[in-house]
Structure formats: structure tokens, C-alpha cells
């Protein structure tokens, strides 16, 4: 990608959206050159694959999603007072996964993966502390 997102410090690595499949949110999984020497490609691969997996689950229309839709309609949407929603649940799992990965693997290298939901799923920022 030849463009940069405004407002991001130049030391951060940015993973752009992978638009190959239009309806599903995915990020590019290529190991960025700026992370060479800081983390191993295997660790990076594990993290990005899990991130993409959780995003796929959040966007997927499965039987559970349809069931949630029907139950919500039958309950006049009152289930959403106490239940966050299946898709939102995957977003929360992603946030917790990134927090755990940052703590266990990336903090040592001085890196931090920012939650892509906080910027509107536009890009995935790996900032340098």
C-alpha cells in the first residue's frame, strides 16, 4: 500500500486491511520489515492469524447468530440489556487476546498491538513504546 494513515507516529508499524474478501474484515498477514529483529515471524504469524480468525467469527453469519436474532426479536430486544451480542463478544475476545499477547510476548520487545476496533477497523497499529 502506498499511502499512510494520518495521525500515526512514524515509528509505528501499520498493517492495512486485506480487502480480498469484501464482506469479511481481515488484516494483511505479511511479516512487516520494520519488525525484523524485534519479534520472530512465527510469533507474529500466530498473533495475526488469531486476530483474523476472531474477526472472521465476528463477521460470520452462523446458526448461533440467526438464533440470537430470533430470540432478540421475540424478547423485544430486551436480551441486549444483559447480553452484549455474539459479534460484540468476539470483539471483546480480540481485545483480551491482544492484551495478553502484548503482556507476554511484545512488551519485551517494546511493542504494543493497538485494538483495531478503537480506530474503526481501518488499520492495525503496532506501536513502539
Amino acid at each position: 500500500m502506498s499511502f499512510t494513515w494520518p495521525g500515526i507516529p512514524p515509528s509505528s508499524t501499520v498493517l492495512h486491511r486485506d480487502w480480498a474478501r469484501a464482506g469479511i474484515t481481515q488484516f494483511e498477514a505479511e511479516f512487516p520489515a520494520s519488525l525484523e529483529g524485534k519479534v520472530s515471524p512465527e510469533e507474529f504469524r500466530e498473533t495475526i492469524d488469531e486476530v483474523n480468525h476472531l474477526l472472521r467469527c465476528a463477521d460470520n453469519y452462523g446458526v448461533c447468530g440467526y438464533l440470537e436474532g430470533l430470540v432478540a426479536c421475540a424478547s423485544f430486544f430486551s436480551i441486549y440489556i444483559c447480553y452484549e451480542g455474539r459479534s460484540a463478544g468476539f470483539a471483546r475476545q480480540l481485545k483480551e487476546f491482544l492484551k495478553e499477547q502484548n503482556r507476554s510476548i511484545y512488551a519485551k520487545a517494546g511493542l504494543e498491538w493497538k485494538n483495531p476496533f478503537d480506530n474503526g477497523l481501518l488499520y492495525l497499529e503496532i506501536s513502539e513504546n
Binding site: M1, F3, A58, S78, E84, A91, L122
Partner: protein, 300 residues
């Protein structure tokens, strides 16, 4: 001292209620108008006809009516006070960021290939982001919104990715409820006319005298059903074509093809039954001291 939260320093035109728990658009005049239409019609109908429907037609008819009314009101309120899919605004890029050469680093638009179709992401000068496909800037709320459909003045909020489903439920259930209400009122007038001991026009007059409101409710409900029903049919057409209102009006995919195609029926099923998505904004997040200071700076 109370903490400053994100909604206290919100830059666009949205209104926040319940201390940031509910979010809606800026102009609520038509919202109150549509809410009062609904409540007045429902209260007049139930006040005058509920007893008759329960005893002389069937109690399950009244139960069905109440179920439909609750569905209409719940989907209306959920759609009106929900974050539609607002993409958070970024701070304006400073001159240092742009290396004193703004256009080179942040061009006005960027080309991408989405699902095999070439598309452009345009730069939004208000929100300082490149708008992804299907995202549009709502001029009423002054936000970029993800999978923007339209800004509905009667609801007073944008209809977009997160609340399109509640909007569809609202318009379909309103059409059904209006037709059902009209049918109930007409049935009531017919039964009352038959039960009357008089003949012809005076029997009809008697029926109207017993329940003066039924005919008015029936006429209003039929008028509302035709209006909202027309909108419902339009949205059925949009869903069969797998486009949003915004894309239909702009003719976005006429020449390039639609990469978001899911199927003639599946798109509608997915739109209606999809699970509730996560929000990108956190209005109740407490701001740090630096963020509070930055929020007062017009250049940031």
C-alpha cells in the same frame, strides 16, 4: 470532582443521554412527531376497542395486537438510541506529520481492490480518515458512519451497520401492525353494525356511535400502512439487490459490479437476523488529563 468522559468532549452533533449510555442524532423534532403519532393512535385504539376485541372477536387477536405494538415500539426506540456504527474521528494531521508536503503523504483518495472490484477510498477532511467502502459521512450528525444507509429524520438517527436490522424490524412491523389495526377496527365496525337492531345506514351510525374512534384509527392506520409499506417494499428491493439506500441513490455499483453480493435472499436474512456488532466508540470512557487539555485545542 466528576470525571470528564468521551461524551463530554464529543466533537460532532450527536446527543448523548443517560450520561453517555444512549446516543442519537441532533434533530429530534420528527422523532417526537412520529412517537406521538404512534402513542396517540395506540392509546385511542386500545382505550376504545381493546375490550370489544378481547370479548367479541377473540382474546388472542388482542394478544397478537399487543405483541405487534410492543415490537414496533421496542425496535423504534432501539434504532433511535443506538450507535449506528460511528467511526471515531482522528486528530488533524499536524505539519510535522506531513513533512511539510501534505498532498504527497496524504493524497485526497486512495485506490484499493475490494473483492476483485476497483474502488476508491476518499479522504474525509472532517474526520481525518480514508473512508472505507460503504462508509459515508453523515452531514446531519457530522460523523463518518460504517455501512451508511441513510439518516432517518423520523427516527432522528443514522441507519447504518449496527442498527439497520432494528430499522428493518421497525418498518416491517409498523406496516404489519397498521394493517392489523385497520383490519381489527373494520371488523369491529362490521360486527357492531350487524349486532345493531336497526337496518342499513342507521345501523352503521349506531356502530360509529358506540365506538367513534374506530373508523378514524382505521383510516389513519391504512394511510400509515401505505406510507411505511412503500418504504418497506423499497428496502426489500434494496436488499434483493444487495445495496444500501446510499449506494442505490448514487448508483455506486452500476458500472463496477457489487463486491458485497451475498445472494438475493441471503442478504435480507443476514440484514434481519445478524448479531449485534461491537461499537467503535466508547462514550463513557474516562479521559486522561492530556486528552481533556487536547480537547480544548481547536487545532488538534
Amino acid at each position: 470532582m466528576t470525571a470528564t468522559r468521551v461524551y463530554n468532549t464529543w466533537p460532532s452533533n450527536n446527543i448523548f443521554l443517560c450520561r453517555g449510555r444512549l446516543i442519537t442524532g441532533p434533530d429530534k423534532r420528527y422523532f417526537f412527531l412520529s412517537l406521538s403519532f404512534m402513542l396517540v393512535t395506540i392509546s385511542f385504539h386500545l382505550g376504545f376497542s381493546a375490550d370489544y376485541i378481547a370479548h367479541d372477536i377473540h382474546p388472542s387477536a388482542l394478544a397478537m395486537e399487543i405483541w405487534l405494538i410492543l415490537l414496533v415500539l421496542s425496535s423504534f426506540l432501539t434504532c433511535a438510541f443506538m450507535d449506528a456504527g460511528i467511526i471515531p474521528r482522528r486528530s488533524k494531521p499536524s505539519e510535522l506529520d506531513q513533512n511539510k508536503n501534505p498532498l504527497a503523504k496524504h493524497p485526497k483518495s486512495v485506490k484499493i481492490t475490494c473483492g476483485g472490484v476497483d474502488m476508491t477510498m476518499k479522504y474525509c477532511n472532517t474526520c481525518n480518515i480514508y473512508r472505507p467502502p460503504r462508509c459515508s459521512h453523515c452531514s446531519v450528525c457530522d460523523n463518518c458512519v460504517d455501512k451508511f444507509d441513510h439518516h432517518c429524520p423520523w427516527i432522528g438517527n443514522c441507519v447504518a451497520r449496527r442498527n439497520y436490522r432494528f430499522f428493518l424490524t421497525f418498518i416491517f412491523s409498523t406496516t404489519t401492525t397498521c394493517l392489523y389495526l385497520a383490519a381489527m377496527c373494520i371488523t369491529e365496525i362490521t360486527f357492531r353494525t350487524k349486532d345493531s337492531r336497526k337496518e342499513g345506514a342507521s345501523a352503521f351510525g349506531d356502530a360509529l356511535g358506540d365506538n367513534p374512534v374506530a373508523l378514524l384509527v382505521a383510516l389513519f392506520a391504512l394511510f400509515a400502512a401505505s406510507a411505511v409499506g412503500g418504504l418497506s417494499l423499497f428496502h426489500v428491493y434494496l436488499n434483493c439487490n444487495n445495496v444500501s439506500t446510499n449506494e442505490q441513490l448514487k448508483g455506486s455499483y452500476k458500472k463496477i459490479g457489487n463486491p458485497f453480493w451475498e445472494g438475493y435472499c441471503m442478504y435480507m436474512v443476514n440484514s434481519l437476523c445478524q448479531s449485534k456488532r461491537a461499537s467503535f466508540i466508547h462514550p463513557r470512557r474516562v479521559l486522561s488529563r492530556m486528552e481533556v487539555i487536547d480537547s480544548f485545542d481547536p487545532d488538534v
